[in-house]
């Protein structure tokens, strides 16, 4: 169930624009973000290995339904292995290509990009569409193909097991249905039939003498 975060280095965003960035009036509508993985061994050129090449693993994935409005502007997004068009087994580098066609925004990007190792959940890529900047993402994840020492963490096949809840601490849903059955058998699970409408106390030991409100 546990996700293991994969350390990644997110390079600075590069805007793609025709002409000189400084003199042209318009703002760039395409950004490229490269993500490298420091834990992956560097690629070695040998004649026996297939050369690395870029492979599109996700195409035209829409992040904001309406590029001109705020909908989805600062949402958190997850991408999973099963959404990818190709095998994510041997990834050396990731490239995110973002497109924002609307001229209304000053800038756009994605932030808090995190890559996760495959646990019982498959490989997840999580990021937040930037808090200051909306993005409409059309993502092409470009991969470099195998080096000799391919990273094992991406190559495990996905077992088709029961989906686990994303948050720890919540009861396993499959247990819910079995609880009625267990109720009569496990008598020690009887709780006192108290109501939960606890009369909420707002005072501290009977005292609620307040002077002023506090704010930071």
């Amino acid at each position: 169930m546990s996700r293991v975060s994969v350390p990644c280095h997110v390079k600075g965003t590069v805007a793609l624009q025709v002409g000189d960035v400084r003199t042209s009036q318009g703002r760039p509508g395409v950004l490229v973000i490269d993500v490298t993985f420091p834990s992956v061994a560097p690629f070695e050129h040998t004649s026996t290995h297939t050369p690395a090449k870029w492979v599109t693993c996700l195409r035209d994935y829409c992040l904001m339904p309406d590029p001109h409005s705020e909908e989805g502007a600062q949402e958190y997004v997850s991408l999973f292995k099963h959404q990818m068009l190709c095998d994510m087994g041997k990834v050396l580098e990731l490239r995110l290509i973002l497109r924002q066609p609307s001229p209304l925004w000053l800038s756009f990007t994605v932030e808090e990009l995190q890559i996760y190792k495959q646990g019982p959940k498959d490989l997840g890529i999580w990021f937040q569409v930037s808090p200051t900047l909306p993005a409409s993402g059309q993502y092409a994840f470009a991969l470099q193909s195998p080096s000799m020492t391919f990273p094992k963490w991406l190559s495990h096949p996905v077992p088709c097991e029961q989906p686990a809840p994303l948050l720890e601490g919540l009861p396993d849903p499959s247990r819910v249905s079995s609880e009625v059955q267990q109720m009569w058998a496990l008598t020690e699970m009887i709780r006192a039939s108290h109501t939960s409408t606890r009369i909420g106390r707002f005072d501290v030991d009977g005292c609620y003498d307040l002077n002023l409100l506090s704010y930071t």
Binding site: L106, S107, E112, K121, W184, L213, Y215
Partner: protein, 518 residues
């Protein structure tokens, strides 16, 4: 797909966890235990037999209603990486704006405290407690000196804040271009356009019958009214929340309305609820809060002066004073962009174990707040039930009308929707009003903040609130604003514009079907 299954599992787990702490869970457990004595429950098929028993006895329906209620009120589980404030409000600049607005309110309240030398809260001396208890049912006869109190804010102050709301990443140029909105609201929120509204409010179309129109005296009742009432009675006997919500989109018969609303809001007056209300009453007796004076002042200024509602003055105190002490309301701040104000016990400033919320429910009333309660007094006469209904209406709907958020039912979206609709329906009027400096939103904003309470006749208002419940959305208010002003604004158009040829808009629209003309 794997993702959808796990999303569903997560939602189920979350709802189960919430319901596990509820009274319903304890009742279901007791019922299941008691059912073991029944002959039809067999050990070898225990699970199915108990399920069947729940279905027949109506307990499954109660559970279904509770689950439906959870789904309607609480937002879906958010992304695991999203912090709690993201659930309150996803856009950072809106969170900041709400924070600044709150700070202003707190400062205003603090300065009122210091100027008047009145503490925020104090324990009542025993004599005063006895006195209040004696006149609990007639607090309206009290005439305390409230001249020094002023409301913390009025809707027009709030409107100014909304007008100045800007996304720092947006092209907010001074020059008018296709980017600037023509109205007062300048944030690019997504609002439904006419085709989307027509689809959303499909039951309000011309082909469907409506109470409020098709039950007028000219229309024979066999055409719509009788059948609609019959269906309403059936819905009530089935005790199905979801069906009631669907039904009420076409309006509720007056005789059935109180029960239907209680069913939709999943309110049933259990002994525990009455006990809870009594406890709140005790809290009112024991502690005196500054907000009590604000409530008194508000009731005296608004509801007491209203022809329809002045008779309910005493009820309003009984509800609103208890509401301020209800800590269960704090739960709604998980999905409200606002946050409850904080304070410290006297002499313990900065010590976290002496930090409390003020008022206990975290809601500071503003001018007109009591008008949220007033219309409900026509439906419910038992104070604890009236209280429960109001509290549920507040944590589902009304809180959105006075906090800054990007939610589609939030006040900012409603304002933008109104302005957009008015531009579409009455473009010449809209343009003209802008030219003479009378933006339509300034006139209609206060109607919307109060959900039209006090601005519509009560029978019409209750029909409007039927639709709010039916669609679980406040967007009808914006549509209502856009259609109702057609009469007012058309008059204004003729009044202001004497020289030009006036063209009155010729579309036939009833007040309750703003999108009805095809």
């Amino acid at each position: 797909m794997l993702q959808e299954e796990s999303d569903l599992a997560l939602i189920i787990a979350q709802i189960v966890q919430k319901l596990k702490g509820s009274n319903l869970y304890a009742q279901l457990e007791r019922q299941a235990w008691a059912s073991l004595q029944r002959p039809e429950i067999k050990l070898e098929s225990l699970k199915e037999d108990i399920k069947e028993f729940f279905k027949i006895s109506g307990w499954e329906k109660k559970l279904q209603n509770a689950v439906y209620s959870e789904l309607s009120v609480f937002p879906l589980p958010s992304h695991p990486a999203a912090p709690p404030e993201h659930l309150k409000e996803p856009l950072v600049y809106m969170r900041k704006a709400q924070g600044s607005w709150e700070k202003r309110i707190l400062k205003s309240l603090n300065s009122m405290c210091t100027e008047l030398s009145i503490p925020l809260a104090r324990k009542r001396p025993v004599g005063e407690q006895k006195e209040l208890l004696n006149k609990w049912n007639e607090m309206g006869t009290d005439e305390p000196d409230l001249s020094l109190f002023r409301p913390v804010y009025a809707p027009k102050d709030f409107l100014e804040v909304l007008i100045n709301l800007r996304n720092p990443n947006y092209e907010n140029g001074d020059s008018h271009s296709f980017r600037t909105h023509l109205g007062l609201i300048q944030v690019p929120l997504k609002v439904k356009d006419i085709p989307e509204l027509k689809e959303f409010f499909v039951e309000l179309g011309l082909t469907a019958g409506q109470l409020g129109i098709d039950d007028s005296t000219q229309v024979p009742p066999e055409l719509f009214e009788n059948e609609h009432v019959r269906i309403g009675q059936k819905v009530l006997s089935e005790q199905d929340s979801a069906a009631a919500q669907q039904y009420i989109r076409q309006g509720s018969p007056t005789a059935l309305r109180a029960e239907l609303w209680a069913l939709i809001l999943n309110i049933s007056s259990q002994p525990e609820d009455i006990l809870y209300y009594e406890q709140l009453k005790t809290n009112v007796i024991q502690h005196d809060l500054l907000v009590d004076s604000l409530i008194y002042k508000d009731v005296k200024l608004t509801a007491s002066n209203d022809d329809y509602y002045f008779v309910f003055e005493d009820y309003l105190y009984q509800v609103l004073l208890c509401f301020s002490r209800d800590t269960s309301v704090l739960g709604h701040f998980a999905y409200n962009s606002a946050s409850p104000p904080k304070s410290y016990i006297r002499g313990k400033l900065g010590l976290e174990e002496y930090a409390v919320f003020y008022p206990p429910n975290g809601v500071i009333p503003f001018h007109g707040f009591s008008m949220y309660v007033a219309p409900l007094c026509f439906l419910y006469h038992e104070p604890s039930k009236l209280y429960q209904i109001f509290r549920e209406m507040y944590v589902r709907f009304f809180f959105r009308l006075h906090s800054i958020s990007s939610h589609p039912s939030g006040i900012v979206s409603l304002c933008l929707l109104f302005e957009t609709l008015l531009q579409t329906y009455l473009p010449q009027l809209f343009y003209h009003l802008r030219e003479i400096g009378a933006q339509p939103l300034r006139i209609s904003f206060k109607w919307m903040v109060r959900a039209f309470s006090g601005y519509l006749a009560t029978d019409q208002l209750l029909l409007l609130w039927d639709r709010i419940l039916g669609y679980n959305s406040l967007e009808i208010l914006a549509g209502m604003k856009a259609s109702k002003p057609k009469d007012i604004f058309t008059w204004k158009w003729t009044a202001y514009d004497k020289n030009k040829q006036t063209k009155t808009e010729n579309w036939k629209q009833s007040e309750y079907r703003p999108y009805g003309n095809g």
